[in-house]
Symmetry: C2
Subunit: 298 residues, 2 copies
């Protein structure tokens, strides 16, 4: 990412990423270490950065959105830890490092995922308690937390995960492929942006526009990842390319072909940018981010 | 349980236990079926019943506490599904039925657990949105949700789980045994009672008394379970007895001996009852429940 604004958000996430994990004592330190290992293992911090950006875009103070940004990243990280388990995708490498269960064993990795998911809600709930003297601020926080719960839930990320698992080794329809990616990848991206928008006090129109942007971006993001898996040296996730094919995963290039996938990526990116055009320079961060998805693909 | 009040709460939980799982479409129905399988597989509904009882004890309307009661049971059920996985306790039978992964496979069982944990917070968050016109009711709900998040989290249930795993095959100190059981078992019981107390509008004194009661009860409950594993035909959880020894788990009978464990169970039960004595008949439900822990043990 060459986008300077992106680093502003990403750096803030990096600075605070451990702040909302509960302090444990030595008797349960292993699960903390395992959680810490995965949340500090790099990654683009896309979801929390989008959350912060949406909060600022809507006129809010991003400092107050940090617990929610970190919660979004905890949720994303938990999903990767569980997704990498032998019973799931059985991945050894994530973001260029050994996966959580390769380092800590399966039992601890399961608990580390559970711990991150729970910590996300614990962090947001705890933050709400600080705003009991401001009715408006409290309500914004409840709405933000609900967005992330929905995005991570059974009509969001988990729906995508189960459909993805069941599609392995099967001929996947285009409808099912969209369903998987809208839920597995886009849902938490949409939820993060909506959470940030609520925190910043976005009106209905802005919330709808940001949601539309996020839906286009989320799907584009997955197509880029699929394309990098086929064409790239290494995907953005630090995994070796070609994994999807080995796993017989349903992908855009597999379903539509590489050229048609590139076209779809371009279209989605243009659509994402078009949605926020009426906001001109105010939306520059979102526009630049969408454009950067096309880099290394053209 | 012979306690009529207990059935009042338990029946209410049974009636609504599926109400707060998100409605999924056919493409992700498997994870819903797996979640439904485990949440409807029986069990005492101890935590949600205690939550409802605490709410009523504090003067609240239990109907409004149902989403939180079900959330507590979703959290309990998720922890059992993950605990039973091959990488954890590797149990085939739970509550007299095949464990989740035995029916649905490991990948789906992991996701079903994740789905239940997320649904718990989604349900509570969604409920909060219904109380935006009542500042007091909204705050009570935020506090209740925070109690369950903490109880389920890395300074609660997950701390107990990781310590329990690490204690397998090791000589376990009495201090560590208490740590495991206070966190693994008692934490969510305490959290459920405190959540109910908040929902009912308990004052500080009542909240403290209920917390003390719950801490005694939670530990007593685990000792009873350990004793049944050694002495019973089948434990309350529908598992075969003797499993803990086979697993080389740290237990009270293993650490203190059977007779000393029975004495400790009796003491804890008496302590639990004593805490709520000042409330006389108002605390009858809690007193009866504690007394019933001694049945089949004497």
């Amino acid at each position: 990412m060459d986008n300077i604004d992106f680093y502003k958000y990403k750096d803030l996430v990096e600075l605070h990423i451990l702040d909302f994990l509960p302090e444990v004592d030595y008797k349960s330190i292993t699960v903390y270490e395992a959680m810490k290992y995965s949340v500090t293992a790099g990654g683009k911090r896309l979801r929390p950065s989008l959350l912060l950006a949406a909060c600022e875009f809507a006129g809010g103070d991003i400092k107050n959105a940090i617990p929610y940004a970190c919660a979004a990243e905890y949720i994303q990280t938990y999903s990767l830890i569980h997704d990498d388990l032998p019973a799931m995708d059985n991945d050894d490498i994530r973001r260029g490092l050994p996966t959580n269960h390769k380092v800590y064993g399966e039992a601890t990795a399961i608990l580390a995922g559970d711990g991150l998911l729970t910590s996300a809600f614990e962090a947001m709930n705890k933050d709400m308690l600080l705003y009991f003297d401001s009715d408006m601020q409290l309500k914004r926080r409840v709405k933000a937390s609900y967005e992330l719960a929905k995005g991570a839930g059974c009509k969001g990320m988990i729906a995508g995960q189960i459909a993805d698992i069941e599609a392995v080794n099967k001929q996947c329809s285009k409808e099912m492929l969209d369903y998987i990616n809208i839920n597995k990848t886009a849902a938490l991206i949409v939820a993060s942006i909506r959470a940030g928008a609520h925190l910043g006090g976005a009106n209905e129109k802005m919330l709808r526009d940001l949601t539309d942007y996020a839906e286009f971006l989320g799907l584009a993001f997955q197509i880029k990842d699929d394309l990098l898996d086929v064409t790239g040296i290494e995907t953005d996730m630090g995994k070796m390319p070609g994994v999807d094919k080995i796993m017989n995963k349903s992908t855009y290039p597999g379903c539509y072909g590489i050229e048609a996938s590139k076209t779809k990526l371009k279209e989605l990116t243009e659509n994402a940018i078009a949605v926020l055009e009426p906001y001109y320079d105010e939306a520059e961060f979102f526009t630049n981010l969408a454009n950067e998805l096309l880099v290394r693909i053209k």
